[in-house]
C-alpha cells in the first residue's frame, strides 16, 4: 500500500472517510428495475408467435372451402410459399426478443451484485485465518460497494451505447413486425372471412325453406366468423403492442444520457404498464 493510502486508511478518521466515499459511490449506482421490467415484458411479447403461425396456416384453412382442384392447388402453392417464410418470420420475433433480453439482463441489478462471490471469498479468507474476521467483514463490505460502483458505471455506459447503436435498426425491425402483423396478417384473415362467407352464404341460400338444419349452419358460420374477428383484433392489438415497444425504445434513446433519472424510469414504467394491459387483451382474444 502506498504511503499516501496507508495514511488515509490508518488515520483515526479513515472509517469516516471510507463511509463517505462508499455512500457517494452508492448514490451513483442506478436502480434500473423499470428498464429491466420493460425489457422483459417486451421480450415476452416478441416471443409470442401464435399469430405468425396463424398467418402461415391461412391458405391451408381456406383450402377446405374451395371446391375445384385448380383453386386448391393455387392455395397449396401459397401454403408452401408461406412455410418457406416461417424461418425468416420467426427470426424477426427472435431478433427483437434476444435484443430485449440482453437489455433486460444488463439492466438487472443481479448482474452487478457481488454478494455471493464476495461471501465465498470472505469465508475462504476467514477459514485460512489470513486476517481477523471483523477485518474480513469490513473489507468485504467495502469491496462490495467499490465493485458495484465500478461495474454499475460500466453497465450504464454500455446500456447507453447499446440503445444508441440499436435504435435505428430496432425501429425498422419493430416497424416491420408491426406492418406484418397489423397489416399483412389482418389482410390474410380478411380473405379467410371472405372465403367463409362465400361458402356459408351459398349453403344457406341453397337450403330448402324452413329446413331446421339451416339455423345450425348459421350458428356454425357465426362462431367461425367471431373467431376470425377475434384473431383480427388480436393482430391489431399485437401490432399496437409492438408500436408501444418501439415508442418506449425511442424514449430510451432520446433519454440515453439520463437512464437512471426518475423521470425516465417513471416513463418506462408507464410503458410497461401499457404493455401488460395490451398483453392481457391479446390473451383474452386468443384463448
Amino acid at each position: 500500500m502506498s504511503l499516501k493510502l496507508k495514511r488515509m486508511f490508518c488515520c483515526p478518521g479513515s472509517n469516516v472517510i471510507l463511509l463517505g466515499l462508499c455512500a457517494g459511490l452508492l448514490a451513483g449506482c442506478a436502480d434500473l428495475k423499470s428498464i429491466r421490467k420493460f425489457a422483459d415484458s417486451a421480450a415476452d411479447t416478441a416471443s409470442y408467435t401464435d399469430l405468425t403461425a396463424d398467418y402461415i396456416g391461412g391458405p391451408d384453412r381456406m383450402k377446405g372451402y374451395e371446391e375445384t382442384k385448380e383453386r386448391q392447388d393455387e392455395l397449396e402453392k401459397e401454403s408452401a410459399a408461406r412455410e418457406k417464410q416461417e424461418k425468416a418470420l420467426l427470426g424477426v420475433h427472435r431478433g427483437i426478443q434476444d435484443y430485449m433480453k440482453a437489455i433486460g439482463a444488463l439492466a438487472s441489478d443481479e448482474v452487478v451484485s457481488y454478494d455471493r462471490s464476495l461471501k465465498n471469498l470472505g469465508d475462504e479468507i476467514k477459514g485460512a485465518k489470513l486476517m481477523s474476521d471483523s477485518k474480513v467483514d469490513a473489507y468485504q463490505g467495502i469491496a462490495r460497494i467499490l465493485l458495484k460502483a465500478a461495474t454499475d458505471g460500466y453497465r450504464q455506459s454500455k446500456l447507453k451505447d447499446l440503445i444508441g447503436e440499436a435504435n435505428e435498426p430496432f425501429q425498422k425491425v419493430a416497424g416491420g413486425l408491426k406492418e406484418l402483423v397489423g397489416d399483412a396478417y389482418v389482410r390474410s384473415l380478411n380473405n379467410e372471412l371472405e372465403v367463409l362467407d362465400i361458402y356459408y352464404k351459398d349453403v344457406v341460400k341453397q337450403a330448402p325453406a324452413n329446413d331446421p338444419g339451416t339455423e345450425m349452419v348459421k350458428e356454425n358460420w357465426r362462431t367461425k366468423r367471431e373467431d376470425l374477428e377475434k384473431r383480427k383484433k388480436a393482430c391489431l392489438t399485437y401490432a399496437e403492442t409492438i408500436g408501444k415497444i418501439a415508442e418506449a425504445h425511442q424514449e430510451l434513446f432520446n433519454n440515453r444520457d439520463k437512464l437512471n433519472v426518475k423521470l425516465t424510469l417513471d416513463m418506462i414504467s408507464s410503458y410497461s404498464q401499457d404493455l401488460d394491459d395490451l398483453k392481457k387483451k391479446i390473451k383474452q382474444l386468443t384463448k
Binding site: 374451395e66 417464410q85 424477426v92 439482463a105 457481488y114 440499436a166 397489416d183
Partner: protein, 129 residues
Amino acid sequence: MKINAGQARDLAQQFHDLATAVGDFRFDHWDELAKSERDRLKDMQFMLLNNSTHFITELVGVILDDVQGDLEALQKVTANAEKALENIADVKKAIEIAAELVKLGAAVASENPAAITSAVQETALVVGS
C-alpha cells in the same frame, strides 16, 4: 420484376375488392342466374381471392427482405450486449477464482496432501468453468 410493398398491398386489396364485388353481384342476381353461371362466378370469386392471398404472401416477403439488413444490425448490437454481460461476469469469476486460490493456499500451508489435491481439483474446476 420485383414488386414493392405498396404495389403488393394495392394488388392484394384490389383482388379482394373484386372478389367481393363479384360475390355481391352473384347474390344480388341469384334468381336470374343459371346454376352454371352462379358456379362460374363463385369459382371466379375464389380465384380472385387466391390472387389476393398470393399478393399478401408477396407483401410479407417484401417486408422480410426490407428488414433483413436491420435485423442483422440488431443481432450485432445484441452480441455486443452479451459481450458486456460476459465482461461483468468475468469480474465475478475473478472473485471466485481468488476464493479458490485462498483455499488452495491454506491447503498447501496445512501440508495435508488430501486437502491439497481436493483444493487443486476445485480450483481447476472454477478456472475451467
